[in-house]
C-alpha cells in the first residue's frame, strides 16, 4: 500500500466520535455574517450596502483579482450592516450581515435533488463557472479552485488527484461526503477531469476508511465512471498535505516553492471541493454551504452538519449541547492544523471542515524544556527539514540562515511539535521565521522589479 516517502506521524485519529453521524441539514440561521476574506489572496469587495435585499445565492462580494474568490449570500433577506466584526481569532474583518426573511433563491439555481451527470461544457466554461461560484479548496487551505484548474501555458496536467485522505484527527466531513454524496462527488470528479483535460483521476483515501473505499468502488463500477480509480493509502499524518498526497499517489516530488503541483503534472482537489464543483457547474449553485463536523469528547453530542456559510459558530455548538463546563479549546479544523477560536460569535467560513472542542486538560501543552537534540522532529518532518534548527534560527532572528535552510518549505503540519519529547513549541517559532522570510523574499523581488 502506498504512502509518502519521508517523515510523518501516527496520532490517534479520534474519528469514532462523529464518523457514524449522518449529515444533517442545519436549519436556516436567522442571521449570517459573511466574511469578505474566505480564501487565500486579495479580500473580496462587498457590492451590497445596508438595506439591500438579497436572494440566496446572490453575489455579495466581488473577487478583486485572479487569486481571489466571489462570495454569495448564503440566505435571503436584508443586509443590516457592512462593517468590521471579529473573526474566530478576534481580528476584525469586513463582514456583510444579512438578516433572514423567508427562503428565496436566485432563479437560475437548480434546487432539484436529481443527479445531473451529462456535461458538455468546455474546459474554459467549467473554469468560468467555478470562478463565478466562488469555489475555494474546502480541505482547509481555502485556495481558489479556478486558479488550480487553470493550467499555465506550456504545462500539461497528467493526473487529477482527489484528496479523500482526511488525515486530520477528529474530522469526518469528507468521510461522510464520500459515503453519502458519492454520486455527486464522482460526477464532480468527471467535470474536474474535463476542466484540466486529463483521462485519469485518482481518489486517495486512507485505509482507516475501508467502507468509503468500498462504497466509492461500488458506485464507480455500477455507474461506469471511466478513468476514476480509488487508491487506498497507508494511514499516516500528514498524507492530506498536497505535496505528500502527490508523492504518495504518483511517487513524484514537487520542487520547493515557487514550484506548483502542476510542475509534476498533478492537480489536487479535495472531495468536498469536487462536490461543490458539481453543484456549481451542473446546478448553478454557488458555494454557500458545506459539511462541517462538530466533534470532541467534551461535547454533549457530535454531528456532521450541512451548514450555511456565515452561521454563528456559537449557535452551531449550542445545537451540539453547548460549550462544556470549565476551560475549553475551540478549533477551527482539527487538533493538528486547526486554528484556535477565541470568539464564538465568529461566523462559519468556507475552509472550516470541522469545529473540534477540546477540554482544557486535553488541550494543555506540556511545560517547555530544553531541546535534547534527539532528532525526533527531523525524523517526523515530512518535508525533510530540520525543525529544531529552524525554530532556533527564528528565535534568534537569523532570517538569512533560516532562508538557507529552506524554512519556507514548511507546510505547518505540526509533526515536529507533536513529536517533541521536550514540548518545545517548534512550529510556533518556525511559523514566524517562515512569514518573515517570505516577506523578505517578496521585498527583494519587488526591489529587483524596480
Amino acid at each position: 500500500m502506498r504512502t509518502f516517502p519521508i517523515g510523518g506521524i501516527h496520532p490517534s485519529d479520534n474519528k469514532e466520535w462523529s464518523k457514524d453521524k449522518a449529515i444533517e441539514v442545519l436549519g436556516l440561521p436567522d442571521e449570517v455574517k459573511v466574511t469578505m476574506i474566505q480564501h487565500i489572496g486579495a479580500p473580496s469587495t462587498p457590492i451590497v450596502a445596508k438595506g439591500d435585499k438579497v436572494l440566496t445565492g446572490q453575489l455579495i462580494g466581488q473577487a478583486t483579482g485572479f487569486v481571489s474568490a466571489n462570495i454569495h449570500a448564503p440566505i435571503s433577506g436584508t443586509v443590516t450592516s457592512v462593517d468590521a466584526y471579529p473573526n474566530g481569532q478576534g481580528q476584525r474583518r469586513i463582514m456583510v450581515v444579512i438578516k433572514r426573511e423567508g427562503d428565496e433563491w436566485m432563479e437560475d439555481i437548480d434546487r432539484t435533488p436529481e443527479l445531473k451527470r451529462e456535461c458538455e461544457l468546455t474546459s474554459e466554461e467549467i473554469i468560468a463557472k467555478v470562478r463565478n461560484a466562488g469555489i475555494v479548496g474546502l480541505g482547509g487551505a481555502q485556495f481558489p479552485t479556478h486558479v488550480k484548474l487553470s493550467v499555465p501555458d506550456g504545462q500539461k496536467a497528467e493526473v487529477l488527484i482527489i484528496n479523500g485522505v482526511e488525515c486530520e484527527p477528529y474530522l469526518t466531513s469528507d468521510y461522510r461526503n464520500m459515503l453519502e454524496r458519492a454520486e455527486m462527488l464522482l460526477t464532480g470528479v468527471e467535470i474536474l477531469m474535463r476542466a484540466v483535460k486529463v483521462e485519469r483521476a485518482v481518489i486517495g483515501v486512507e485505509n482507516n476508511k475501508p467502507d468509503a473505499i468500498a462504497h466509492l468502488r461500488d458506485i464507480i463500477a455500477r455507474d461506469n465512471y471511466a478513468g476514476i480509480e480509488v487508491m487506498p493509502l497507508k494511514l499516516r499524518y500528514p498524507q492530506g498535505g498536497e505535496k505528500q498526497l502527490i508523492a504518495a499517489v504518483t511517487g513524484r516530488q514537487v520542487a520547493p516553492p515557487p514550484a506548483l503541483p502542476i510542475s509534476v503534472g498533478a492537480v489536487v482537489c479535495n472531495v468536498s471541493t469536487a462536490i461543490a464543483v458539481y453543484e456549481a457547474v451542473q446546478k448553478n449553485k454557488p458555494l454557500i454551504e458545506r459539511v462541517v463536523t462538530i466533534t470532541g469528547k467534551a461535547l454533549g453530542s457530535t454531528h456532521n452538519f450541512l451548514a450555511r456559510m456565515g452561521t454563528c459558530v456559537g449557535d452551531i455548538i449550542n445545537l451540539a449541547g453547548g460549550l462544556p463546563e470549565g476551560d475549553v479549546k475551540l478549533l477551527n479544523g482539527g487538533p493538528m492544523m486547526g486554528r484556535s477560536v477565541v470568539d464564538i460569535t465568529a461566523p462559519l467560513i468556507k475552509g472550516c471542515s470541522g469545529i473540534t472542542v477540546l477540554s482544557g486538560a486535553e488541550a494543555a501543552r506540556g511545560k517547555e524544556m530544553a531541546c535534547i537534540k534527539c532528532g525526533k522532529c527531523v525524523a517526523a518532518c515530512p518535508m525533510g527539514l530540520e525543525p529544531y534548527l529552524l525554530s532556533k534560527l527564528a528565535k534568534l532572528q537569523k532570517w538569512d540562515m533560516a532562508e538557507e535552510h529552506n524554512t519556507i518549505d514548511c507546510i505547518e503540519c505540526g509533526c515536529c511539535s507533536y513529536t517533541c519529547p521536550s514540548y518545545v513549541p517548534l512550529l510556533d517559532y518556525i511559523r514566524i521565521g517562515k512569514q518573515t522570510v517570505m516577506t523578505n523574499i517578496r521585498a527583494r523581488a519587488n526591489a529587483n522589479k524596480k
Binding site: P86, Q91, S340, I432
Partner: protein, 299 residues
C-alpha cells in the same frame, strides 16, 4: 645533547628568518587607515546597538570620519554632547537632535483590560501575533511577553508584574529604537524627551471605534475628540478614532488630561491640573526623580 642543541638552533634560526619575512610582508601590504577612526570609536559608547543605522560603533566611526557631511549621522546613545565633541575633533558640523525617549503607548493594565482567554504557546509576542489578537480582546494592546525587553540592550525596559505592561526607564533609555522594531503591535514611539523626564502621551493605539474599545478595555482611547477641542496649541489630532499628541507642538499644559473620559492620556513626572483649573501651578519642583505614571482616572 647534540640533538637538543640542534633542535634549539634550527627553531631559533627558523623563527628569526620567518620574523624577518613577516616584517617585510607587513611593510609591503600595510593597509592605510585613518587613525582618527580609532579615536572616534573610543569616543562612541561602544554599545554596538545599531541605533545609528550602522552595523556597530566601528562602522559608525568610519562613516563619521570618511563622509564630508555628517549632518545625517547621529548616535542616540551618546547624545548631542558627545556628537558635538566628535564633530569638533573632526572639524565638521554635528547633527543637532533633541534627546528622545522610547514611549510605550498602551495603558491596558490587567485590571482595565481583563484577559478573556488563556494562551499556552511559546511565550513570545511575535508568536502570539501570528495566532490571534491576544489574551485580552484588544487587537492593538500590549501582549506582555516582552519581545521588547529582550531586544533592549540597555536594560531600560521591564514588565510590571502587577499591571502586566512594559515600563520604560527614561534614564536608561537611549532611544536606539530596538523596541520600536521588536514590538509586533507597534506600540513604541521615540518621542521628545522633556526636561526632568516629563512626558505626556496617549496610552492607546486602538483604531477601533469607541464602542468596540470600551468593551474590551476601560483605559482605551475612544476617539471622542474632547482633547482635540481643548488643546490650545493644535497638538492633538484624531485619526481612525485615535488621538495623537504631537510632542513638537505640545506645551505640557495638561488640559487634555482632565478632559479625557477614559484616562487614556498619561502624564509622567507631572501633577494633574486641579479639577477646576484656575491658575496653573508650577509643579516642577515637587517632582520625584523616579518614574511615576499617573493614570488619570475619572473622579
Amino acid at each position: 645533547m647534540n640533538s637538543l642543541v640542534l633542535t634549539v638552533l634550527t627553531l631559533g634560526v627558523l623563527g628569526v628568518l620567518l620574523a624577518v619575512i613577516l616584517y617585510f610582508v607587513a611593510q609591503k601590504f600595510k593597509v592605510e587607515e585613518d587613525p582618527r577612526i580609532d579615536e572616534v570609536e573610543k569616543m562612541l559608547p561602544g554599545a554596538n546597538c545599531g541605533g545609528c543605522g550602522f552595523a556597530g560603533c566601528r562602522a559608525m566611526s568610519e562613516a563619521l570620519v570618511t563622509r564630508d557631511n555628517i549632518g545625517a549621522l547621529f548616535c542616540p546613545v551618546a547624545g548631542g554632547e558627545v556628537m558635538k565633541s566628535i564633530a569638533g575633533y573632526l572639524g565638521k558640523a554635528a547633527a543637532e537632535k533633541s534627546p528622545m525617549v522610547a514611549t510605550m503607548r498602551c495603558g491596558g493594565t490587567c485590571q482595565k483590560r481583563p484577559k478573556v482567554n488563556h494562551y499556552d504557546g511559546a511565550l513570545n509576542c511575535a508568536v502570539v501575533n501570528t495566532f490571534y489578537v491576544g489574551e485580552s480582546g484588544c487587537a492593538f494592546g500590549c501582549i506582555g511577553y516582552g519581545d521588547c525587553v529582550h531586544a533592549c540592550k540597555f536594560g531600560a525596559l521591564s514588565i510590571n508584574e502587577e499591571t502586566g505592561l512594559v515600563e520604560v526607564d527614561p534614564d536608561k533609555c537611549t532611544a536606539c529604537g530596538a523596541c520600536v522594531k521588536a514590538c509586533p503591535k507597534g506600540l513604541f514611539e521615540l518621542r521628545k524627551k522633556w526636561p526632568k523626564n516629563r512626558a505626556i502621551f496617549v496610552a492607546c493605539r486602538s483604531k477601533n471605534r469607541g464602542a468596540v474599545v470600551s468593551k474590551v478595555c476601560k483605559a482605551g482611547c475612544i476617539g471622542c475628540g474632547k482633547c482635540e477641542k481643548v488643546c490650545a496649541f493644535g497638538a492633538i489630532t484624531i485619526d481612525n478614532h485615535l488621538a495623537y499628541i504631537d510632542p513638537e507642538k505640545c506645551k505640557l499644559c495638561r488640559k487634555c488630561v482632565n478632559e479625557c473620559p477614559t484616562g487614556a492620556i498619561h502624564i509622567v513626572n507631572m501633577e494633574r491640573l486641579p479639577k477646576e483649573p484656575k491658575a496653573p501651578k508650577a509643579p516642577a519642583t515637587e517632582v520625584k526623580s523616579e518614574v511615576k505614571v499617573e493614570t488619570a482616572n475619572k473622579e
